[in-house]
Amino acid sequence: MKGETDMSRHDSCAGRAVSRRKRICLLAGMALGLGLLAMAQEEARKASPSAAAAAAPAAQSGMRAFIDPVTKQLRPGEIDEYVSARRTTLRSSFAPQPVQLRHPSGAAGVRLGRTQLVYSVATIGPDGRLKLDCVTGNKKAGERVMSSSRKGGPDVE
């Protein structure tokens, strides 16, 4: 993926022994790049100039910092951490409020988030058999998992 390629170019920088000041500068640069990338994605030519669309990118970009748990100091992030952070950012950019779209042909659109995904949830019943059902939205899916874990499924008694 495009972002992973970008991160790989920084691998050599993260791997060298560099001063604390340089590490901070590198981290700030990387994080700023991530933020700019996120903003560019949301400024797609199809995006409407609505306030909602304009506001979304700013809320979704952000600087990243990694703290050494022992020294409590800033440290370089591992490649996987940047990829994970980007994925989290992208997922977050996909999850909040829907984004209005306008196609040059005049068609109106909306980009959905995970709130509209249909989730399949499996629960083990008292007889040990799996019960599968569907839930809309990531929040409700998580709630169903937790509530099902406590109740154990009702379909055999």
Binding site: H103, S105, V118, V121, D127, C134, V145
Partner: protein
């Protein structure tokens, strides 16, 4: 016995479903959204399984996923590629319950050239097909350019995530007790292709102020209105109008006789007049199925609790055994499993068992469980129906009640359809967020791919004569 006219109509229906696909298959492609070493790229060595030749976990996931997409490819036609941006990632999960996966359209579009119905949301993949070009393109993020997003649980089967219930990655549907990934992907992508409403069934409100194309075909047979012409308040009522919400598309209706079996399970009470009528039932996953002309008998309650309830969790007392012997036992849900109750009634000589639900709602769910020694039929009825029947049962002798019931299959109605032959949508009361509306009713026989509970006996077939899903997609424009 089919008439010649009906036979020819069925052939025509099958042709309507089959021919468009043969004119040019769609290209449903997987966009691997996982980073190196994770999910679809997991390098863990595994042995090939069930026709899946992959030798790493990631490769097998890719192969199984693409196999499911290929099934859809063969049935659909589209001038543009249908991109499914997919990932395997940790999803909420515990030892007893977990998210398997999720999918849906990335975007919705309305009022585009080629839309059959203006002012209705279409899922991206269908909208682009009808528009004749990709409506979602040019974004630097491949996720935003995709038509469908899908994500699946990479932790499934691990120690703290439904241990012992991993995804089965074979292609042959021989999943045993594991969860068949191909079937789950087929189901989830079905939602992404358009088997879903975006209207809120709890508030009745449209998404973004407009109905979806699915709503155009969701017909409430109590009001004879489709969801796209109702008020919010009407949709709230309709969303819980159990077994009165149907799919009103011509292709599905023509397909119903090819797919759904004749015989709608029911209980008919013929006397006394005050409770005479036809009752909805939930059938059992154990014991013999209902048949026609059915099994008749006096309903006789088991009473083994101080409050008058009958749980039948222990061998029946002599009084209760005398009551149910040769009759249809009425017991209450609760405390022990259904198979325990039915077995105790069977051992006492009951010819069948009616389980009264202990929670309000309709239609009555089926009875889960397994016991190969159970030889009598059993059904569940709603709490409301059970209360009414028990009231009539107060006037009984030790061996007879005069409340005459027949448990049978109504051969004039197909299981999962209404009397007019229209496929039922799932509209239980109370509303089940995520399950209601956007699935076929659970009464369908055989089990269908797009039921809310993904059943273990599903095939990898999405079209007639096995399934109605493709027919539904054709109705909305595929």
């Amino acid at each position: 016995m089919w008439s010649k006219t009906r036979f020819l109509a069925s052939i025509l229906a099958a042709a309507l479903v089959v021919l468009p696909a043969s004119l040019g298959a769609a290209n449903v492609v997987l966009i691997n959204g996982d980073p190196a070493g994770q999910g679809f790229n997991d390098p863990t060595p595994v042995a090939p399984v069930g026709g899946n030749t992959g030798t790493t976990l990631g490769a097998q996931r890719l192969i199984a996923f693409q196999h499911a997409l290929n099934i859809w490819s063969a049935q659909l036609s589209s001038p543009i590629d249908i991109a499914v941006f997919a990932t395997f990632e940790p999803l909420p999960c515990t030892a007893g319950s977990g998210v398997l996966g999720a999918a849906g359209p990335v975007s919705l579009w309305r009022d585009f050239t080629g839309a059959q119905f203006g002012g209705h949301w279409y899922p991206d993949a269908l909208a682009s097909k009808l528009f004749g070009a990709d409506l979602s393109t040019g974004d630097p993020d491949p996720l935003n350019n995709a038509e469908i997003q899908a994500l699946f649980n990479s932790d499934l089967g691990s120690a703290n995530c439904l241990a012992g219930s991993p995804f089965y990655l074979g292609l042959d549907n021989a999943h045993g007790t594991a969860i068949d990934l191909v079937a789950v992907v087929l189901h989830e992508v079905g939602h992404g292709l358009g088997f879903a409403t975006f209207t809120d069934g709890i508030t009745g409100a449209y998404f973004g102020g407009f109905p979806g194309i699915f709503d155009r075909f969701a017909l409430d047979t109590s009001t004879n209105k489709t969801w796209d012409v109702m008020t919010d308040a009407e949709r709230v009522v309709s969303a819980v109008n159990a077994r009165r919400l149907v799919w009103n598309g011509g292709i599905v209706s023509a397909s119903v006789p090819l797919v759904l079996q004749l015989g709608d399970p029911q209980m008919n009470v013929s006397a006394p007049a005050g409770v005479a009528g036809t009752y909805l039932v939930g059938t059992a996953g154990f014991g013999p199925p209902l048949a026609s002309p059915g099994l008749s008998g006096n309903l006789m309650p088991v009473v083994d609790q101080a409050n008058g309830a009958g749980l039948a969790c222990n061998p029946l007392s002599a009084t209760n055994a005398l009551a149910v012997n040769g009759n249809i036992a009425v017991v209450d849900r609760g405390t022990c499993t259904f198979v325990v109750k039915v077995k105790n009634a069977q051992d006492a000589g009951a010819r069948a068992v009616v389980v009264v639900d202990n929670a309000a709602g309709s239609p009555p769910p089926g009875l889960g469980g397994a016991d190969p020694t159970i030889t009598i039929p059993a059904v569940r009825i709603t709490l409301a129906d059970g209360t009414a029947l028990k009231n009539a049962l107060r006037f009984r002798s030790r061996t007879r009640s005069g409340v005459l019931a027949n448990l049978n299959l109504n051969l004039a109605v197909r299981s999962g359809a209404d009397a007019a032959g229209r496929a039922l949508l799932y509209s239980p009361n109370p509303y089940q967020d995520g399950s209601s509306i956007s699935h076929w009713d659970t009464s369908a026989t055989p089990n269908l791919l797009m039921e809310p509970a993904i059943n273990s006996d599903l095939s990898h077939v999405v079209a007639v004569p096995r399934d109605l899903t493709l027919s539904q997609l054709r109705d909305i424009g595929w």
